[in-house]
């Protein structure tokens, strides 16, 4: 389980990273951030980029700040940094949800931007970004643009990011003081069979594990209505009816948790 060969490039700035992605475009370059999913896949040789562009040394990409637009979380901010941050009642759902992300040594390296870019349909950051209607700020050859998270996840591990774009930060513009996320997996730290996030103020619900991307249900009805409307297939060990019931249970529990906030 050793990765295939690649050339390593250390970007000094976002602009540098974007330039490298452009220059190396013919030989499958890939951004290396926390690497907690990418390197595992490379060790299995399921991912074999020709070039890695390491952005972990780019200054200014890690950190959490607030401005008029809301809460801005830099792409290189680790899950652990968010977990430990005091985000106040408006955004505590973000730090509370970090307990569902892997385990401590994964959270110390894994990054918010990396998680969003990887686009696992059950990953907490993907769910949170969709639930809170966040914007993904990315930079490409033409400069920066904002992509709404609700239009960002296009399919399994597929996003609206262009091949030569780099995620810079995620902007959470809308406070969510009455939002919560909960999950179920047989084993602690695993990707969820079903994950559910709710925001009682908007009435929105987001679900992980029920499709190839996070599934948003705007202005959602009862948990039965949400669960019954899903199109689900039987999968090994997880019958559709079980997954549907997990949705029912977890949306209910997330709503209970949020209503206690």
């Amino acid at each position: 389980m050793k990765p295939a060969a690649f050339a390593y490039h250390r970007a000094s700035s976002v602009r540098d990273a974007v330039d490298l992605l452009g220059e190396l475009a013919d030989d499958d370059p890939k951004i290396l951030a926390g690497g907690q999913s990418l390197v595992a896949m490379m060790n299995y040789r399921m991912s074999r980029p020709g070039h890695l562009v390491d952005i972990t040394h780019v200054p200014g990409l890690a950190g959490i700040r607030r401005d008029g637009a809301g809460l801005r979380i830099g792409a290189l901010t680790t899950h652990r940094a968010v977990e430990k941050a005091d985000l106040g009642p408006d955004f505590r759902v973000l730090s509370d949800a970090m307990r569902w992300v892997g385990h401590l040594p994964i959270r110390t390296r894994g990054t918010v931007g990396g998680s969003i870019a990887h686009a696992d349909a059950t990953a907490e950051w993907c769910l949170l970004a969709v639930l809170l209607d966040a914007a993904v700020v990315c930079e490409g050859p033409a400069g920066r643009r904002e992509i709404p998270a609700r239009g960002f996840f296009l399919g399994p591990f597929t996003t609206a990011l262009d091949a030569d774009e780099v995620i810079v930060e995620i902007v959470f513009g809308r406070p969510a003081p009455r939002a919560a996320v909960t999950e179920y997996a047989d084993r602690r730290g695993d990707f969820a069979i079903v994950a559910a996030g709710v925001d009682l103020d908007t009435g929105d619900v987001v679900l992980g594990g029920v499709g190839t991307t996070p599934v948003l249900v705007e202005d959602a009805g009862t948990q039965d209505e949400i669960a019954d409307a899903l199109e689900l297939r039987d999968e090994p060990g997880v019958p559709a009816s079980y997954r549907r019931d997990l949705v029912r249970t977890l949306v209910g529990r997330a709503r209970e948790a949020a209503s206690r906030l």
Partner: protein, 172 residues
Amino acid sequence: MTDVQLIELTVNGERHDLAIPPRRTLADVLRHDLGLTGTHVGCEHGICGACTVLVDGAPARACLLFAAQVENSAIRTVESLAGPDGELSDLQACFAEHHGLQCGFCTPGFLMLAEGFLAEEPDATREEIREVVASNLCRCTGYQTITDAVDDCASRRRAALQSALDSGVDTS
């Protein structure tokens, strides 16, 4: 693409100059280029935690890092824990006293996990410690004695700190 890359790595306070292919993981570099074989490799996909080391004080999986990435970081491995004469650290002694290891293969990973965690969270409860112990896999112990060892070490460190504070109060 077998180009080698020159990197400078700081491990346990010592600087090393290395010429390595960029695809070499930190785990392999520590073990096979630097001969620090205390860091073990159990899965190479970040689940088992046998390769856990400290990167700038935080526990991290050495199998999910390329050595080239951590050039400017301080790496600590299990070899850094004991005193220069081999005397066990308080954490290591707690593992021995609680029988927190059997075959010993996972042990360095658990030690570094606990070392990093307790430095950040010295007041952790046993339940919090158990949740962090759940980061790594052990196939021998059933985990209970590992949790006990870390919990005991945390208590002893708190007691030592308290007694240092108390004696400081007395003399002032």
